[in-house]
Every structure is written in C-alpha cells, then in structure tokens.
C-alpha cells in the first residue's frame, strides 16, 4: 500500500515537473528581469541574420531593459504552419514576419497589435495590412517580380536579348514564348516560374496579371478562374508548356541559377543567388501582356502579437527596426516601402549586383505600379483546393475552359464563407 502511494506520488511529481516545464515561461512577465524578444523569420541567410543582429545590438545599447533579441528562422515551406502551431501551443512569438497571402487571416483575426503608421510609407504597400484605418504590420519587404535572363543561352539559341526587345518595344509574352521554346529545343529549360513546380499556382500571377486576370474579385467573393481573361492566360500557359515547349513540364526540374534554363520569373531579392554564376545574366521587367505593361509585387510584413509576453516592448523595437535609418540598411536585401528611399541612388548603394537602370525599371516603377500578390482569408485551404482542382490542367490534352470552371465550382463554397 505504502509502495503504491509512493509510486503514485512519484508519477504525480514527474507529471508536475513536465507541466512545470511548459508553464514556467508564463511567469516572467513582471517588471523584474530583462525583457527577451523573439521574432520568427523565414530567412536563414547569414548576411540577413548578421544585419538583424547588428540592429538588435544597437537597440539594446539605449534600452538596458531588453535582454536577448532572438531571430528564429523557420523554413519557408512550412513557415505559416509552424508559426500558427507555435501560437496554438501557447508559445507566441513577440514579433513575426507574415506572408502577404496570409495577411487577411492575421489582420482580421485580431491577433496583431495596431502599430503607428509613418507618413513616409508608400500607400500601395500598406493596404494589405490595414483594417478600419489602422495598420497591423509594417510592410518591410516589398519586392517586385522581375525576369532574370541567362543571356548566354538566349544568344546561343539565336534569339534577341530581352534588353534589345525592350528597346525596340517587342518585349511581349508572345516573343518571350518564342525565345523560351528556342532555348528548350536545344535541351535546356525555357522560362521557369520561381516556386511554381506545378503546385504553387499563385506564383503564376506573374504571368496572368499581364492578361488582367485575377483569381477572385477584389472583395474576395467571386471566383475569377472562369473569367475570359484568366481562361486566355491559362490557355497561353498551357500552350507554352505542352505545344510550344517553352516551359519545363510537370516533374521536370531545370535550375536557372545553375545555368539550366533561359529565364526565371522571381523576386529581385534572388539576385544574391547569382553572385557566383558562371554565365552572363540580366534582370528585366515582366514582358508586356495583352492588357499592357504590369508588375507584381511580393510582400512581407512584420507584426506584433497581442498575446506575446511583451507586446509593448515589441512595438517599440519594431518602430526602431523599421525607422528610416535601419530601413536604408535593410534596403540591400528588402526593397524599402518608404517614399524617401524608393530611388535608384539609395537602392544602388545597397544592391551592387543590379544596375541603376534595372533598379529603376523593375523595383521603383514596379512597386509604384504593382499588384500585391494574391491573398484571402482562409488562404491555406483555398491554396490547396485550387492546387488540386488545377491538376487536370497539367496534361497535354486538357480542356482549359472545363478545368477552370471546375476550379470555380470547388472554391465557390470557400469564397462564400
């Protein structure tokens, strides 16, 4: 009997200890002791982290109450899933990077603290992060999509370089498709859409925006996949893959950065990957589509969580992290959303790999004109549903119109929520 109660006590003690491990961190929100801050990010780039650490170290000099400031890298693929799981498990970070696609989820849920809006911010960069006139995240990286071109491959295929086509006003999707198929006919890949891989369909907005197509209406209520512009754009993409053979097909990998494809549509921040490239390359704006010139902007915001342990301290740190001085430093990796810094001179200092003309045409014009990438509440479910419904399109004999109507019938119930 004694032994049994002894054992029971032991088990109880062990469980209490286990529970204590999880709960002890709740107790340090009092005024005593230093305040530790944690920001989740999806970059694991050593140069990015060194810059963040340096900004944090400068901040701590004037803020003795701050203990540690940690930048926690989470792999991009599972970023939002990991972040929300941390929040669900009670391990709420003080600050977090947030992807533009999930902005409506975070902003509308009430999870974020409102922050001060600097008058210097370009208005188009903050719309995604506002609700009822309040700003809920700082749009720290506003990165337009451009086309990186392997000019060696284009030349070898006997096609004019995109820069020449821009000069002569023939830089269109039609011409791009011809260049892409000419290169692919020689065994390399034609044009690649970065992060698409026949799953990340939302990256195709770098093409369909040229047709004036949108996945859903601006209010998010009406499906746009079955609209004529989208059907035309998808017909073009389907033809580019299966008829013109200018885009590597499903299940085929062609790495642009290793010199295996002619062009890639991606964010300009990827220029860093070309630092040691063995081929000649150029960066040009997206080609003209049937509806004219256009640009697409990828975006990341930094938000402060209401349920973080030190929301006020986190807000103060965010204000410092994103002030004009630090924004100029961050501009070498993350295009700034500030009017005062959105000029070729500031950007050129920070982006030695890019020429001023490239920065002007792709970055500055791009941000001011740009459509922010697709977003919606309940984005992950929409993303998966569209992915599954679009799968029948990635076959040579697919009927584009039928597939696109199918996408709408699948997502309509989700859009109506």
């Amino acid at each position: 009997m004694k032994l049994r109660s002894l054992t029971a006590a032991g088990v109880a003690a062990a469980l209490l200890a286990l529970a204590g491990c999880g709960g002890s961190s709740d107790g340090d929100s009092g005024s005593s002791g230093p305040v530790d801050l944690r920001m989740t990010i999806w970059s694991a780039n050593a140069k990015h982290l060194a810059l963040f650490d340096q900004i944090a170290a400068d901040y701590k000099k004037d803020h003795p109450e701050i203990g540690k400031i940690t930048f926690e890298s989470i792999p991009f693929d599972s970023y939002t899933t990991t972040l929300t799981t941390q929040i669900g498990g009670g391990n709420v970070p003080d600050l977090a990077w947030i992807l533009e696609s999930t902005a409506p989820d975070f902003v509308s849920s009430g999870a974020l603290e409102p922050i001060d809006k600097d008058a210097d911010l370009v208005p188009s960069t903050t719309t995604n992060w506002e609700k009822d006139g309040k700003l809920y995240a700082y749009p720290f990286s506003t990165s337009p999509l451009g086309v990186f071109v392997n000019t060696d491959l284009v030349k070898a295929a006997g096609r004019p370089a995109p820069a020449q086509q821009i000069a002569s006003g023939t830089w269109t999707w039609e011409e791009t498709a011809k260049t892409a198929s000419a290169v692919q006919a020689r065994g390399k890949g034609g044009v690649v859409v970065g992060d698409f891989d026949y799953k990340g369909w939302d990256t195709l907005n770098s093409i369909w925006s040229g047709w004036g197509a949108r996945p859903w209406s601006e209010d998010g209520k009406t499906c746009g996949f079955d609209q004529p512009e989208m059907v035309d754009a998808m017909t073009f993409i389907h033809k580019l893959i299966f008829t013109d053979k200018g885009m590597p097909g499903p299940g085929v990998t062609k790495d642009f950065y290793a010199g295996d494809s002619a062009m890639i549509l991606t964010q300009i921040s990827r220029a860093a990957l070309l630092e040691k490239s063995k081929f000649k390359w150029d960066l040009v704006p997206l080609p003209k589509g049937p509806s004219g010139e256009y640009s697409v902007v990828g975006q990341a915001g930094i938000g402060v969580f209401k349920r973080g342990k030190h929301a006020d301290a986190a807000k103060q740190f965010l204000a410092y992290f994103s002030n004009a001085e630090n924004s100029a430093k961050l501009a070498q990796f993350f295009p700034p959303p500030r009017k005062s810094q959105l000029n070729a001179a500031t950007l050129a200092k920070a982006n030695p790999l890019l020429k001023p003309a490239q920065l002007q045409s792709v970055v500055i014009d791009g941000i001011q004109r740009g459509d922010i990438k697709t977003s919606h509440t309940g984005y992950a479910e929409l993303q998966q549903t569209v992915r599954a419904a679009l799968d029948p399109l990635w076959k040579p004999d697919a009927d584009v119109k039928t597939v696109m109507s199918g996408v709408c019938s699948k997502i309509n119930p989700l859009l109506a929520k």
Partner: protein, 312 residues
C-alpha cells in the same frame, strides 16, 4: 516421541518485526521502477494527448484569434457532410490494401527464398533489410528524384526503349509509386520476421509430409503456412496499422496530389488541423482514424481463432 514431547520449548524469540523489504516487495519495486519511465512517457505522450484530442474535437479553436468555443457534436456532423472525406477514405483504403497485400506476399516470398540454404543469402538478406534502417525522409526524397519525369527510373526505361509515365503526376501511378516506395522501405522487416518463423518449423514435419507424397506446394500450404500463421497475424496487424499512419511519403512525394488521389486520412487531418487551422475538425478526423484502427485490429484479433495455429 516422548523425547520429542519432553523437549523444552525453545525460548520465545523477542517480538521482532519481519523486515519490510521482503523479496516480493523488492521485486515489485524493481518492476515499478523499470516500467515507470515508459509509463510516464505513455501517460504524457499518449493518454493525455488522446484525452485532449477528444476535448478539442467538441470545440472550435481559432488559433490566431485566440478563441476556444464549445460546439458540441458539430465537428462530428461535419464529418458526415464533408464531400472530400469519401475520396480520402477511398485513397486510404487503396493504399492500405495495396501495401498489405504486396508487402506480406513479397516478404513471405523473399523469406522462403532466403530459407533455402543457398549461396549469397546473407548478401540478399542484408540488401532487403538495409532500407529499414535508412531514414524515412531521406529514402523518400531519393525516390522522389528517381520518380521525376526526367528522373532515374524513366532514364533507365528510356535505355530499354520504353517511354515511362510521369509517375508522380497522374492519379494511378502516383498512388502506385507511393505504395512501392513504402513497400521497399519496410518489406525487409517482415521478411526477417517470416524468416525467423520459417526457421522454427521442425524439419521432421517436412520429412513426414514428403514421405506421405505431398508436393512442394502442398507442403508449403499445409505445413509451412499453418505453423507460421502467428507471425502472419502479427505482421498483418503491424502492416495495416503502419499503412494507416503513412504521412512522410505523401508529404514529400505528392502532397496529396495529383488532385486528391493520394490524400490519405493522416495527411488530410494534418491539412485540416495544421494548414487550415481547423483544429477541432482535425481532432474529430483523428478520432475517426483511431476508431478505424481499433475496429480493424479487433476484427483481426477475433478472426485469429479461425486461421491461426495454436489459437483454435
């Protein structure tokens, strides 16, 4: 007798308490101490989470908003209304059935081959067992490269003049690919279990059967199979339960696609709970999975008397 009777009674020993730590008590303590770490682990990582899952399944939990509301049986009625659940259960059944049939027959076939004292059996045994000790995700990623349209498998088929399909991109071949990747990963374990069972079959029984004029097939059917039937039951239960838990292969190779052809129940509940943040509904799905595993295992356990030797 008298002598004995007359013997003075031994002086009464002082009333001494029997030592508390008798052998029996020591054994009990040792036993408890040995199972305690495991027991604490099961309580902390199985029993408590299981209870929590039941609790979550009757709530609507908005992770971002921080709200947690009681919704009663709503998540369970949602199971009945979910149009995606039918295809998911079909994919799960297809995967499990395909895997169990292929795995058990291949494992038994290999074990029978390796049980013939032939040259090179050690090499083959090692060859088929080695995937069991390889990290699951590494194994799956390598297969992912092989199964690409321009990957190793189609490259090999090309040499033979065959134009291979795009394995992971069409419904039928994607499911077949996932099954085969899992099959070769674990067939070695069942093979070793079968081999051990085969080596336990007494040689005299085969000899007697041979004298009675039984053919090789009849000896296999009438002697081998009944005697290794307990192992067949064990491997069948393990493989079915394992097949219902498949996740990493799907996450790495197909992410449930093309369309929803490889979205099995575990992957679907992961999507619902962790990607779409429907933790309540995800919990209801996991209890559905739990009851499926429970029912299947119980059915096999009851059926064992019919076909497992020693159990009749």
């Amino acid at each position: 007798m008298t002598l004995l009777l007359d013997k003075p009674a031994p002086p009464q020993a002082p009333a001494e308490r029997a030592p508390y730590w008798t052998m029996r008590r020591r054994d009990t303590l040792a036993g408890w101490l040995m199972v305690l770490p495991q027991l604490a682990g099961i309580v902390a990582f199985v029993i408590v989470p299981l209870g929590l899952v039941v609790w979550y399944s009757v709530h609507e939990w908005n992770v971002l908003g921080g709200t947690f509301e009681f919704v009663g049986g709503d998540n369970y009625t949602a199971l009945a209304d979910d149009q995606r659940l039918g295809p998911v259960l079909r994919a799960t059944g297809l995967f499990s059935a395909g895997l169990v049939v292929l795995n058990l027959s291949l494992a038994l076939f290999l074990a029978v081959l390796l049980n013939q004292r032939l040259r090179g059996t050690v090499v083959f045994r090692t060859l088929f067992f080695s995937p069991v000790v390889v990290t699951l995700v590494a194994w799956t990623i390598v297969w992912g490269f092989l199964l690409q349209d321009n990957g190793g498998l189609n490259g090999f088929l090309n040499v033979l003049g065959i134009d291979g399909p795009n394995w992971l991109r069409s419904g039928g071949t994607a499911m077949a690919s996932v099954i085969v990747v899992q099959l070769f990963k674990n067939v070695g374990l069942n093979m070793v279990l079968f081999l051990a069972a085969l080596q336990g079959v007494p040689a005299e029984l085969y000899e007697a059967a041979r004298i009675d004029g039984a053919s090789a097939w009849a000896r296999f059917r009438r002697v081998t199979v009944p005697l290794i039937s307990p192992t067949i039951l064990l491997t069948m239960i393990l493989t079915i339960v394992g097949s219902l838990q498949v996740f990493a292969q799907i996450a790495v190779l197909t992410q449930g696609g093309p369309e929803t052809s490889t979205t099995v129940l575990v992957y679907y509940l992961y999507q619902q709970a962790f990607q779409f943040h429907h933790f309540g509904y995800g919990s209801a799905l996991s209890l559905l999975l739990f009851s499926i595993v429970l029912v299947l295992t119980a059915v096999q356990w009851r059926m064992r008397r019919r076909w497992v030797f020693h159990e009749a």
